[in-house]
């Protein structure tokens, strides 16, 4: 009897918190709401050390925070959320630690595919962004399955950057642009004469639009806010190209400590800077 009453009280409490949060988001939505939020999930290992947790527990705590935060973002009306889950540089960590993260990723990706998961609840399409060939095979296959399984969702988008660095993304875009360009040039050279040689020279050079169209992140617009937790203020080779005019926000909280208040504060800062950012964007 007591147990049933406690469950009802708990549910009521949960519902009122949820209601208050929705009210807060309605107020925030009076101003501009960012379309795309990017997060660098820094501080998981420090969190584990701080609370004397075992190896890998920091990442698990981080995952729980991630799920809450993604939920808040979609409730607020943010359409795109990007996260820096694993950098190519992180492969240089101890093999046991890398394996621990890969195992956790595999477990969580498989969790995403379940019926009751967040992505199905909120109609989220998932992309895995990065040099996926560098991932351990089971993780890569799971990622590809997840992308396929969610390809019909269209409410919001989640971009999970794994085996990613911005410089690698740019190099890859340059390689593909060149391959594309010379493949088109070869086929058109077989048909055309070389009379208009001079025009061809200008066309042969790759342009900014070529590079952008081959970036892994071409599936999303540029982020409006880049959040890096744990107080470190650096980009660590994340979305260098895409954050050239983006607002940066670095709360001191470690990633597993991130909460609603940080999201609200970030959005308020965005709203304050919005007129300036918009002027910058409108200039061609």
């Amino acid at each position: 009897m007591d147990g049933k009453r406690n469950t009802i009280l708990f549910k009521l409490f949960g519902s009122s918190i949820s209601y208050m949060r929705r009210c807060l988001f309605s107020v925030l939505s009076v101003g501009p709401v960012p379309n795309h939020l990017a997060f660098i999930l820094d501080g998981n290992r420090r969190y584990a050390k701080k609370w004397n947790l075992g190896e890998g527990m920091g990442y698990r705590a981080g995952f729980l925070s991630l799920m809450s935060l993604i939920k808040y973002c979609y409730e607020l009306g943010v359409k795109y959320v990007s996260i820096y889950a694993f950098s190519i540089d992180n492969f240089r960590r101890r093999p046991e630690e890398v394996q621990c993260v890969m195992d956790l990723m595999l477990e969580k990706i498989e969790g995403l595919l379940k019926e009751e998961s967040l992505v199905n609840q909120y109609g989220v399409r998932v992309y895995f962004i990065g040099n996926l060939k560098l991932l351990h095979e089971p993780v890569r296959l799971a990622a590809e399955r997840a992308m396929k399984a969610t390809s019909n969702n269209n409410n919001s988008i989640l971009l999970i950057c794994v085996a990613y660095t911005s410089t690698d993304e740019i190099v890859h875009a340059a390689q593909e642009s060149c391959e594309d360009k010379w493949a088109t040039t070869q086929s058109s050279a077989n048909i055309k004469d070389s009379q208009d040689g001079e025009e061809k020279d200008t066309d042969d050079v790759i342009k900014l639009s070529d590079i952008e169209s081959h970036m892994y992140m071409r599936v999303a617009p540029d982020p409006d806010i880049l959040v890096r937790t744990s107080g470190e203020t650096r980009l660590s080779n994340f979305l260098l190209w895409q954050t050239s005019n983006c607002l940066l926000y670095s709360p001191k909280a470690l990633w597993p400590e991130i909460g609603l208040r940080h999201l609200v504060w970030g959005v308020l800062n965005f709203q304050r800077a919005h007129p300036y950012l918009e002027r910058g964007r409108k200039q061609p």
Partner: protein
């Protein structure tokens, strides 16, 4: 001590507006702050100082303002060139200078040539510079090499791209510390590739007010940071 410091000199116009002065006074005060920072870098043993003097996005400011700024830049460089040369400062310019007036282009080329052998401080001035355009021009140069059969597309790597970026004029192309004044917290299309692992420091003071104390504070902040480059804890 950081080897390479980059600075976005923001806040000159706000400084002038706050004092009820014309915008030109803001830029002049900014020029004074710039001279003082160059001297501090020389004294503190910083090897490279890169300053964002003018972004390719800034052309959308009123023409009167951009003309004034270019004039100030030309006058300042003419007046200071002798002093900088004797102080051992090497000057390099990054950005698309073809859009600048001819006399200024000639002056810049001359400054670069005259100071090329100086080695106390390498001063890199970004004029009409865009981080994205820098990356694109590097990729274009590599694309031409691919077209000429010198390299295969799959041979393009980070090292080759870096070699073609405009910052290839220095042995330390990656800033250790980026300082942006006036409290704005974004990169604004400055060095993008080169800032991959740079410690970012956002100062509240407007650029003309950024002096020795503020610079010292920024360097202390840098020295307290833990740089891991994605790997093990240092």
């Amino acid at each position: 001590m950081p080897s390479h410091v980059a600075v976005i000199m923001d806040g000159n116009r706000r400084w002038a507006r706050m004092r009820g002065l014309p915008v030109g006074s803001g830029y002049e005060a900014g020029a004074r702050a710039f001279r003082s920072i160059v001297e501090l870098c020389c004294n503190w043993g910083i090897r490279v100082l890169t300053v964002f003097a003018f972004s390719s996005d800034n052309w959308f400011r009123p023409k009167v303002e951009t003309d004034f700024l270019m004039g100030l830049f030309e006058r300042g460089l003419r007046d200071e060139l002798q002093h900088l040369t004797s102080a051992g400062v090497r000057i390099s310019i990054i950005g698309d200078v073809s859009r600048l007036l001819k006399p200024l282009q000639v002056l810049l080329a001359d400054a670069m040539e005259t100071t090329i052998n100086n080695s106390r401080l390498h001063l890199i001035i970004a004029v009409n510079y865009s981080g994205q355009n820098d990356i694109v021009q590097a990729c274009q140069k590599l694309a031409i090499k691919v077209k000429d059969g010198l390299i295969e597309p799959e041979e393009i790597n980070e090292f080759l791209v870096e070699r073609e970026l405009e910052t290839n004029c220095t042995d330390f192309p990656h800033p250790d510390l980026l300082i942006r004044t006036s409290g704005e917290i974004r990169i604004s299309n400055f060095l993008l590739w080169q800032l991959a692992y740079t410690e970012l420091y956002f100062a509240h003071s407007l650029w003309p007010d950024f002096g020795e104390d503020e610079f010292r504070e920024a360097v202390y902040s840098f020295q307290r940071r833990q740089r891991r480059y994605g790997g093990q804890k240092s």
